[in-house]
């Protein structure tokens, strides 16, 4: 799962720091838990569509499981860095996922 697009959210007050992120695929429960590791994670699976919120020092991510978009609130002082941290976490999750599905013990060397 990667970030495909980041859009400003029109808001009268704090639009400069709140962005909508578009993911390459719907956000899964596993992705939510990954992003929430070592952070303050709120996850409400009993809602008609499960809501989550991840509070990290660099950003706050809110979204709904199954959606391709989520809302990220970035640090006011270092917006670009906060966004980079968020994207790196997602990349880590993607690598971890790919690692899990890659077949092991296959000899790929030429005969």
């Amino acid at each position: 799962m990667t970030v495909v697009d980041v859009r400003d959210i029109e808001d009268c007050f704090d639009g400069f720091f709140v962005k909508e992120v578009l993911f390459s695929e719907p956000i899964t429960r596993e992705a939510i838990y990954h992003l929430g590791q070592g952070a303050d994670l709120q996850y409400f699976p009993d809602f008609p569509r499960p809501f989550f919120r991840v509070d990290r020092p660099d950003f706050v991510l809110q979204g709904v499981e199954g959606n391709r978009t989520a809302r990220v609130t970035l640090g006011k002082e270092n917006t670009a860095q906060s966004l980079a941290t968020f994207e790196r976490l997602l990349e880590d999750y993607q690598k971890e996922k790919e690692e899990q599905v890659r077949p092991h013990n296959i000899n790929c060397t030429s005969p």
Partner: protein
């Protein structure tokens, strides 16, 4: 320009308006109905002040038109401005300006009107004087359809339904522990719009949950009206504003109540 404040319920006291009138005051501009709390201003008293002080009275009826009767004949109102996309059921981008007979304003824009092509100047007569350029035909058609619906349904029926929906919304929200409702007071006229917050949760987060988890679309933040939020005590985060229309069903409001209760429960607010 003087800005007249409001009290902690969002009401502007007519006497406060009177106090701000100076020798050079040209007009009183008043929001007929708050887009934050739904409170309808004391328009009769304000109209009397304008009449006594011989200043123009300009009503912004964007939030009230179609829901609250506006008697331009018997009240001293000079100008009414309104949008068409709220309770008149038109598309966004259409609105209107009504002016008392005999009042003249310089047109904001001049240009082709599609008639009197031989003239180099903007026509003098209404409405052409104020309608330069290509009209917003889709907007006009939609507004006309909305007005047809209102006339067919009856303004009295709509006003009554609006009052019922407002009472139902406020009763539902007031009963939930942890909810702070702004501007609600019995015995005063309201449009079916109310603002609230859930203690300990930012309105933007409540709005996000309502929309994305429960399918209830609300508006959050300052509603382009920061001053009233300062008076209500909801500045700088604002509030969650929920609006009902004639088509809102009782069960929609019940569902809103259930959603708010569920949010409070999972967040440990009671």
């Amino acid at each position: 320009m003087s800005i007249v404040g409001c009290d902690s319920r969002g009401y502007v006291k007519p006497e406060d308006i009177g106090d701000e009138i100076r020798e050079n005051t040209k007009a009183i501009v008043v929001n007929h109905c708050s887009n934050v709390t739904g409170s309808v201003c004391a328009f009769r008293e304000i109209s009397q002040i304008a009449n006594a002080e011989k200043v123009l009275l300009i009503f912004d009826a964007s939030q009230s038109i179609g829901l609250v009767p506006i008697d331009v004949t018997n009240l001293h109102i000079d100008i009414v401005v309104f949008t068409g996309h709220k309770a008149l059921y038109g598309l966004p981008g259409i609105g209107g300006l009504w002016m008392r007979e005999g009042l003249e304003l310089h047109p904001l824009k001049v240009g082709g009107t599609g008639v009197k092509s031989e003239s180099l100047y903007q026509p003098e007569e209404r409405p052409l004087r104020y309608e330069a350029g290509t009209p917003n035909v889709p907007g006009i058609v939609s507004l006309n359809a909305g007005l047809d619906f209102i006339m067919m349904t009856g303004t009295e029926t709509i006003t009554k339904r609006a009052g019922y929906l407002y009472s139902m919304m406020t009763n539902t929200l007031q009963d939930i522990s942890g909810v702070e409702l702004y501007g609600a007071s019995k015995g005063t006229m309201h449009a079916p719009v109310c603002s609230f917050n859930i203690r300990g949760i930012k309105p933007a987060e409540v709005g996000y949950m309502l929309e994305h988890s429960f399918g209830i679309v609300v508006r959050t933040g300052l509603h382009c009206a920061p001053l009233i939020h300062q008076a209500l005590g909801s500045y700088p985060d604002g509030s969650v504003r929920v609006s009902a229309s004639y088509f809102t069903r009782d069960q929609d409001i019940e569902y809103l109540g259930c959603a708010i209760k569920q949010i409070c429960r999972v967040k440990g607010i009671s």
